[in-house]
């Protein structure tokens, strides 16, 4: 009698772990997705500093890269430091247009909070940086950040 009672139909495959599998997949994709970063066409090694602050909102930052073109572009653009806006080489006069575009992409309340981050190579001369600064002043984009990495030793 007892033996007969033990006779069960084949048990259904447990689906208890399905949510976990789904979560795992979700995490996997979350981790592997990389936000589209602009292709750097210039070599930038930012200077080191001790008094650095974090930029709070990444979405409110527009980047201007300044540096010597990387090797692939040297034949075409030479070895003098150049400005890169988004994905293309630019001249200082194109900065006003660039700032306008950045502003147009944000809502009205966010425009005053926009910060420009200058990512310039430590080897470049101030001349080109001054040109950029003047253009930013003309465009009334006055919040500026000189991108730097942390230096641990203090003078």
């Amino acid at each position: 009698m007892k033996l007969k009672k033990k006779e069960k139909p084949t048990p259904a495959i447990s689906t208890a772990s399905l949510p976990d599998i789904v979560f795992m997949l979700l995490f996997f994709f979350m981790v592997t997705t990389v936000m589209r970063e602009t292709d750097l066409k210039v070599k930038v090694v930012v200077p080191q500093a001790t008094e650095i602050q974090k930029l709070e909102k990444k979405s409110l930052v527009s980047y201007i890269h300044i540096g010597v073109p990387t090797e692939t572009y040297r034949a075409q653009f030479g070895t003098a430091p150049r400005i890169q806006l988004n994905d293309a080489f630019a001249t200082p006069s194109m900065i006003a247009e660039f700032i306008d575009k950045e502003r147009a992409a944000r809502s009205e309340q966010e425009v005053p909070l926009l910060t420009t981050s200058i990512k310039a190579d430590r080897e470049v001369k101030m001349g080109i940086v001054t040109d950029v600064k003047q253009e930013l002043r003309k465009a009334n984009a006055l919040k500026l950040n000189y991108s730097s990495s942390l230096r641990t030793e203090v003078y």
């Binding site: 995490f27 200077p47 008094e51 930029l55 430590r122 470049v124 003309k138 000189y146 730097s148």
Partner: protein, 175 residues
């Protein structure tokens, strides 16, 4: 009689998922953007009369950097390593030196560089000046409230920031 397929124990599945999650959370570094923040002065208006505000010479610390990255602080050749000390002395003027600023609020640091100055030294100068102010503020916070700047409420921080207001005036580029 078919044998019952033994159920795979799924109880530890959640633990494995969490383990993976924590592993990725720990290992991914979201690279934050860091740097020295400054505020540019607005462009002077075309037809704006040149404002001739007279500022006493003693209240201005002149920092010049030439194309060879050499420093001149108030007419004296100097070094980047000495700049913080000089700036602190100038702003705070604890010995009431008649050559240095009258009070921290009146102190202005004027920065001028050449087009040939390297960007690195320019950042170092900004950094040292900022460091000077940060140290002065921190010292005042400790003196008044016995705590560092970062542990004070915002109102107190602003009070101290107002006392040591950092005014860096950058020369208009020539040409």
């Amino acid at each position: 009689m078919p044998r019952a397929v033994p159920e795979v124990n799924a109880g530890s599945m959640a633990d494995i998922a969490f383990l993976l999650l924590i592993f990725f959370l720990v290992t991914t570094t979201i690279d934050t953007d860091k740097g020295i923040s400054i505020k540019l002065p607005p462009m002077p208006e075309e037809n704006q009369p040149k404002n001739d505000i007279r500022i006493k010479e003693r209240n201005v610390l002149q920092v010049l950097v030439n194309a060879n990255d050499m420093l001149l602080v108030d007419g004296q050749p100097s070094d980047i390593k000495a700049l913080k000390r000089l700036a602190k002395d100038f702003v705070d003027n604890p010995s009431k030196n008649p050559e240095l600023s009258e009070s921290p609020q009146k102190a202005i640091i004027s920065l001028k560089n050449d087009r040939g100055t390297s960007y690195n030294i320019y950042i170092q100068v900004h950094n040292e000046l900022k460091a000077a102010y940060n140290e002065l503020r921190d010292a005042r916070a400790r003196m008044l409230y016995g705590r560092g700047m970062d542990q004070l409420p915002e109102s107190r921080q602003n009070e101290i920031k107002d006392y040591y207001r950092q005014v860096i005036s950058e020369a208009e580029p020539e040409g």
